[in-house]
Amino acid sequence: MQLDQLYQEIILDHYKHPHGRGLRDAEDSGDHVAEAHHVNPTCGDEVTVRIATDGAVLHDISYDGMGCSISQASASVLHELLRGRGAGEAFEVHEAFVELMSGRGQVTPDEDVLGDGVAFAGVARYPARVKCALLPWMAFKDAAARAGVGVSPEVKA
């Protein structure tokens, strides 16, 4: 196996220097804030994702957690990609990331959509690690549903 395909520099960078880490209160007191805490029962990794939104724009996505490099880097990338985005747009990115991770390495990611998320293409070849990468994204989906934005988590991937 090619270890550097899994541990791309981008992933290790996000892991060692996470972007936007730490749970924050909403800057705008009119924003709706909701969060979701997800755990991976097989390894004990945990992440909490919190969303501050006016219903249309995701003003902030903050997070905290503990876990492996893949899950923590994925949370950092999620923050960077989706913060400040419109809800509809954010869900398109979400869908693209889930598709990439479910593709067993057969999906070619679109860098325009996924940004640093393309670095996770290699992770998709390691079934044991896909859950790590998806952990913050699944927490995001639940948090968004609780914040009343996006589509129902039962409908989307």
Binding site: L6, C43, G44, D45, M66, G67, S69, Y126
Partner: protein, 434 residues
């Protein structure tokens, strides 16, 4: 090791039985595999062991030559299958020095064996005429420990929920030993059963049980020992151990998956109500009610894992042929070697005893703040197979303040070269994550 002169009169190096590891390794076909371009270094035997050709052959031979259902046919194949299945039971009984073959109940695994005992308590608690040793209710207590595998926690939590009994537990010391200091207050006249791990699957600790046994006897409770990690690795004599029940699983002792053992004292098994109902476990059945067979059949409803039991018998033969005492010493030496080698790795923290005394060849550790998943992934790229995660013992991880651990575990086929490969691999992990 032999260069150190041991004074005469003391136990000498050569007093201990030994075996040729290279010859043993030749019995295990899987050990020839390469993983990611490297020779397989399998350090996950506490999870499951590999199977020697002698066991694989018996498994295949049973299906190819003797396949039939057991305990119900008069035909030749049925007789052969029954003889093989009951022969395996006798082998297991002899392996444990059990006073009677009928004290060996075949189960699916240790988890099922523990659940059978827990549900027997549950079922007895519903009947006023059941044996009082198995009746539980509010005010009664079940005692476990903080170092249990989930399989020896959850069944008792569920039992306590069903019966209103209270669950209590022994804590674990900073050194990873069972904290027996509160024994007198923990195990009392209210205690109905103490269910303890014999050797921890995560800390490697081997619990000395005699003080606990004495207290259990004093208060009139029962003692179950989870021997999943000890039966495969050291000589176990149930008479000597003086427990009431022991459980273990076949796949960790060179046998197949799907077969485990509940050993219980004859009089206790006879007093236990059945748990699973069905074929083979009955004496007679009418439409209104049934009466039940004597143990072990009472606890083996339905067609059992026949070939798996027969192959477990072959595993017992294999281990006995090498000698459990020799296996125990081999692993003791490996453990001493590994503790020293891992101790030399910068920023490595061992969870559990750091001396090769009162512990087995299962060592969990943290490497700096690198997450165990990442440690395991880099090691795998070098062919080194270790377990990472919470090892189905989350309370132990919480006790030591970590979400997960990396674990290396040894068996009779493990070599010191493999431990060296682990240490070298850990240096590689550093390079990726520093």
């Amino acid at each position: 090791m032999t260069s150190i002169a041991i004074p005469t009169g003391m136990p000498q190096y050569d007093d201990v039985p030994r075996f040729d590891v290279a010859r043993v390794r030749a019995d295990f076909p899987i050990l020839d595999r390469e993983i990611n371009g490297h020779p397989l270094v399998y350090l996950d035997s506490a999870n499951t062991s590999h199977k020697p050709r002698q066991v694989l052959d018996v498994l295949g031979e049973h299906y190819a030559r003797h396949n039939a259902n057991v305990s119900r046919s008069v035909h030749t194949l049925g007789t052969e299958a029954t003889e093989a299945y009951e022969g395996a039971r006798a082998k297991v009984a002899a392996f444990l020095n059990a006073p009677s073959t009928n004290e060996v109940v075949f189960t699916k695994n240790s988890t099922e064996a523990i659940n059978i005992v827990a549900y027997a308590f549950s079922n007895a608690s519903l009947r006023a005429d059941a044996d009082p040793r198995f009746r539980l209710g509010p005010g009664d207590e079940v005692v476990i420990s903080e170092m249990e595998h989930h399989s020896n926690i959850v069944p008792w939590q569920l039992l306590c929920e069903r019966t209103g009994a209270t669950l209590r537990w022994f804590p674990v010391t900073d050194q990873g030993r069972l904290d027996e200091s509160g024994l007198e207050n923990l195990v009392t006249e209210r205690t109905k059963i103490v269910s303890l791990v014999h050797m921890s699957n995560i800390l490697g600790t081997i619990n000395a049980t005699s003080r606990i046994t004495a207290r259990v006897r004093e208060v009139g409770a029962l003692l179950l020992l989870d021997c999943s990690q000890s039966v495969p690795h050291l000589p176990i004599d149930v008479v000597d151990l003086d427990a009431d029940f022991i459980v273990f699983t076949g796949h960790k002792m060179c046998g197949p998956t799907g077969i485990g053992v509940l050993w219980g004292r004859g009089d206790l098994l006879a007093a236990m109500p059945p748990v699973f109902g069905g074929g083979s476990m009955i004496e007679t059945v009418t439409m209104a009610r049934s009466t039940f067979a004597a143990p072990p059949a009472r606890f083996e409803a339905g067609t059992p894992p026949i070939a798996e039991a027969v192959a477990l018998g072959a595993a017992v033969d294999y281990l006995t042929g090498i000698g459990m005492r020799a296996i125990q010493w081999h692993e003791k030496e490996l453990t001493a070697y590994a503790l020293e080698a891992l101790g030399s790795v910068r920023d490595l923290r061992i969870f559990g005893p750091t001396v090769p005394v009162g512990r087995g060849g299962t060592i969990s550790f943290a490497l700096g703040d690198v997450h165990p998943h990442d440690v395991g992934q880099v090691l795998d790229s070098l062919g080194v197979q270790v377990r990472v995660g919470h090892h189905c013992a989350k309370p132990v991880c919480s006790r030591f303040g970590v979400p997960a651990m990396t674990r290396a575990s040894f068996y009779l086929y493990t070599t010191t070269e493999e431990i060296d490969a682990l240490v070298t691999g850990l240096e590689q992990v550093r390079k990726v994550f520093d």
